[in-house]
Point group: D2
Chain length 325, copies 4
Amino acid sequence: MSIRVGIVGISGFGGGEAMRLIAGHPSFELVYAAGEGSAGSRLAERFPGAPARFADLVIEKWDPAALPPLDVLFASLPTGTSAEALARVPRNVKIVDIGGDHRYAEGWAYGLADVWPDRIAGRTRIANPGCFPAATLIALAPLLAGKLIAPGHIIVDAKTGISGAGRGGGDSRFGYAESNENLVPYGLLQHTHMPEIAETIERLGGGSAAGLVFTPHLVPMTRGILVTLYARGRATTQECLEAARSFYAGRAFVRVTDRPPQTKWATGSNLAFVSYAADPARDLVIAMGVVDNLGKGAAGQAVQNANLICGLPETAGLDGAPVWP
Amino acid sequence: MSIRVGIVGISGFGGGEAMRLIAGHPSFELVYAAGEGSAGSRLAERFPGAPARFADLVIEKWDPAALPPLDVLFASLPTGTSAEALARVPRNVKIVDIGGDHRYAEGWAYGLADVWPDRIAGRTRIANPGCFPAATLIALAPLLAGKLIAPGHIIVDAKTGISGAGRGGGDSRFGYAESNENLVPYGLLQHTHMPEIAETIERLGGGSAAGLVFTPHLVPMTRGILVTLYARGRATTQECLEAARSFYAGRAFVRVTDRPPQTKWATGSNLAFVSYAADPARDLVIAMGVVDNLGKGAAGQAVQNANLICGLPETAGLDGAPVWP
Amino acid sequence: MSIRVGIVGISGFGGGEAMRLIAGHPSFELVYAAGEGSAGSRLAERFPGAPARFADLVIEKWDPAALPPLDVLFASLPTGTSAEALARVPRNVKIVDIGGDHRYAEGWAYGLADVWPDRIAGRTRIANPGCFPAATLIALAPLLAGKLIAPGHIIVDAKTGISGAGRGGGDSRFGYAESNENLVPYGLLQHTHMPEIAETIERLGGGSAAGLVFTPHLVPMTRGILVTLYARGRATTQECLEAARSFYAGRAFVRVTDRPPQTKWATGSNLAFVSYAADPARDLVIAMGVVDNLGKGAAGQAVQNANLICGLPETAGLDGAPVWP
Amino acid sequence: MSIRVGIVGISGFGGGEAMRLIAGHPSFELVYAAGEGSAGSRLAERFPGAPARFADLVIEKWDPAALPPLDVLFASLPTGTSAEALARVPRNVKIVDIGGDHRYAEGWAYGLADVWPDRIAGRTRIANPGCFPAATLIALAPLLAGKLIAPGHIIVDAKTGISGAGRGGGDSRFGYAESNENLVPYGLLQHTHMPEIAETIERLGGGSAAGLVFTPHLVPMTRGILVTLYARGRATTQECLEAARSFYAGRAFVRVTDRPPQTKWATGSNLAFVSYAADPARDLVIAMGVVDNLGKGAAGQAVQNANLICGLPETAGLDGAPVWP
């Protein structure tokens, strides 16, 4: 049985990765692609390596009133630009919004698929978590659920590859010559992802996350997120690892490792890696989370969510091993 | 039907990529892995993102006398080290040698699969082309077959990502700090791949390749090969492109593009891209070829060859789109 | 004695590098800086690491009618935008034009300083060579002067770091995520630098350069140019090396090496490295040239030219060793 | 007046950078270089871009009993290997030890030159701070001195370029293909730099640093360190910035910036950049420090210390602007 899917935002990195994953998906058929910068082009002009069966699909200008018959729409649009248009998509078209406009919005399920799959199945409007929140919350969930850390004093030192900034019109700050060999902190104490993380910590941990600190950094690499999290708690390293192994038992995409995870372990995959190091004497738990910002942090998680809402196996189209080296 | 495959040289980049491709292959089952550096480890220790069903496979010390029942063995060993051991592998085990010891060796078919699939099907000992020769010969084959260039005066200016140098014991020349932001020509007029290229040019072009010039360069990127080829001929750009489109019509993995190909178009895939620019007035044909050195240049081509000798569809397990960006 | 210098185009990479070199120059004092993107800013806002004595210089909007008293103006403007404005600079202000508008223009000396210092000293309008021509011509000059190669059939396979594309408004093709791990040929058979190279080959070699082939490639690194040159000639490797050592005897910035030069040898310096490999039996001479595209390829050469026209030692302010690694 | 200096450990990154800085120093003359891997070579073989006047210096095997007459010896040897040998260096030879064997050792001054210049001048045995400690302590010193943060609960999330791992025999973990596009935390809760940082915090802050947490990460870039520090305190951002501006008033190498510093601001220089962001309501002060790990983190600081102990201007040979981009 073929499920007809579309992508809006195909010119961007998230939309392009969704295309790649759909290309390898056993049930999804790409019947629609829309994008600002590349409207009017054949898909193969934009993606010379696209599968031959997609090559002649013409990228359209995004218009929710002119959709072909679709089962699922993946939306990967800049935050702040999609709310009105997505509201006009027919109700019978399921939507997975990779962008940031519907996280904790009314009528939308929050698609943290590895933690809350049951809240996603059966829904038709899914807001994919942000890339930083995905990495952060997957690492924190077992600790918060097990009351091993306090929700009130969590520090998130987050590092992302530069594709996390989007293709965005070619801002010269993200140009190769200025980004290469450069490590850049930004958005201190005011990053747009903070409320989403705080809200989810509170839902997971049953207490205020008012003390949350979130410091993102741009790292000179294309893909990958590592979050290093500092929390207060009295658990040992082993207790944290066991809590995580138990929490994610039977879940396909989260791997709990004894040694600190590296971003390259996840590149090109939908995997998340978590690990922990604790020192009860210092009231300290360090949690680490690694994802590919375009995989689990965007298109991979989106396909996982689409699988859940279509009643497919959660891993359909997502079992590719990471690309290494 | 499941085909039992093994990999020797799993610790290296070519062996690791073979593992990744086998993980996504519909008919191959990995039952054996051997490697020098990682013998005794579970596969998941070496490859934290390996598929769960491979995780507990223990990497063995390579011993051709102690193989389990196997249908196909992928060998990815340093050139110069494998001839004797591979000779001891039972005849009923098909071998695809990714290493350099059997190219144009007696009893071995030369596995330039996109050009000569018929010479490969039915054989049991396949020597995979080198990564530079693969990129070079795929770009040249249509021109040589169509007599659009002379075989005698070809200049190959070749550029490779650093994984092409192998993991090789950590030579500090390939260390990050010394390789990054560095472009390094090497092996001038004496590179080990020259005879293989010359031999194949002669078979394709029907004349001496004695004037062949081959200059490799190390480029600060992990994966990817681009060869820029300068030949003498009077064809136009269009005639070259048409010759290539005709030559590769119906072939799955070679794409002929109007614009110059970029290495990133192929990353993580088994695709090859070729393009041409000619100036008859200057007796000049420029040909360009792009591959992923670990894909079409190593493990991708090896799986394609294995498909051919096992009677499977040539594209089985190889239809993943490239990873971009 | 202090020489008052100005930079127009301070926001770009070439202008920024000129500022760095002037900061370390014993005789030059920076009294004027103009730039499009950063007009109105203090220099320290644009360059947080600028010398303290420059920090409060306010970047002005470029206006040739509103210059302060100046001895030398370094112009680093996009090609095609500077001819009219530079014509309005007072005649008593010497100009070194790093941009491309005055190479072989009437009244302008061509500033190939390592080859033709005597044609530069005493002049007041100097057109700095382009970055690709600088690397190419420094490597070719000894061979052409010694008649070791024919001027008519030279192939230039050129590779540049991405700063060579300029800051240029943030074209997303030069964005980090799209440029990293990517090697891109461009401008085949029609690059803007071809006439400049051909003209100079003819002046050096005494014959037509009509057969010149020039193929540039973008390499994922910030700085550095390597040109690999293929010419026809019957000299041996040793004869080429000796010709170059003799040609550049006593010259401070060109180093002739036995082994192939690497781009990182020159990073941050005004050095050029050349080497040769020849095979008389194949009528082949390979020449290699390495420069930092912002050093010898732009601002370094410009300061060298300014030294020559100001009657200073040629190496003033340019004796910094390359940055390694 | 010329001061005769030597370098032991010239083959490593720290020793090589010391050579570069000495090349540009107005008073230091390099008369001795020793190194393990390159003993017997001319300096120009190891460093093709070395100044011509150093080119023919022969690198010797390190032997403290066979030193030529020297005024200052820079030692850049692997930690754990130098104590005995350096003890045998004649007392009249001043030593600046870039390695880790003498930090807080008896008879050695701790060379945190921007903070404690007066404790260094007049001494003859200086232990250069480690690269992580340098960045961390320069950022913390004004806060600790001003009692704006508590010394007991400081979290150091540290990020370093890969040259920080040294050339070290080519460990394949630091190979290009494995390090590129990879971000790697390591040494959690047990890094070798912790005691040095804790000791200095206590000296600066007047209280126990027992709660210190230090988490280093390897970032895919050659040079640069950024430390992001989380401390408890009730100061505002402005109060922190003012404390730092006051603390470093008149100091040449530390720059206090309003916006978060980026590693590339410091590349190739002896500068340190610090900035702060605080939220009194959350009892939080974030401090950031940026250095070039081979500059202020190693050879730059070493030359600064050598200037201090030789009675030279602190900035001699160190006023080069950073290399950008």
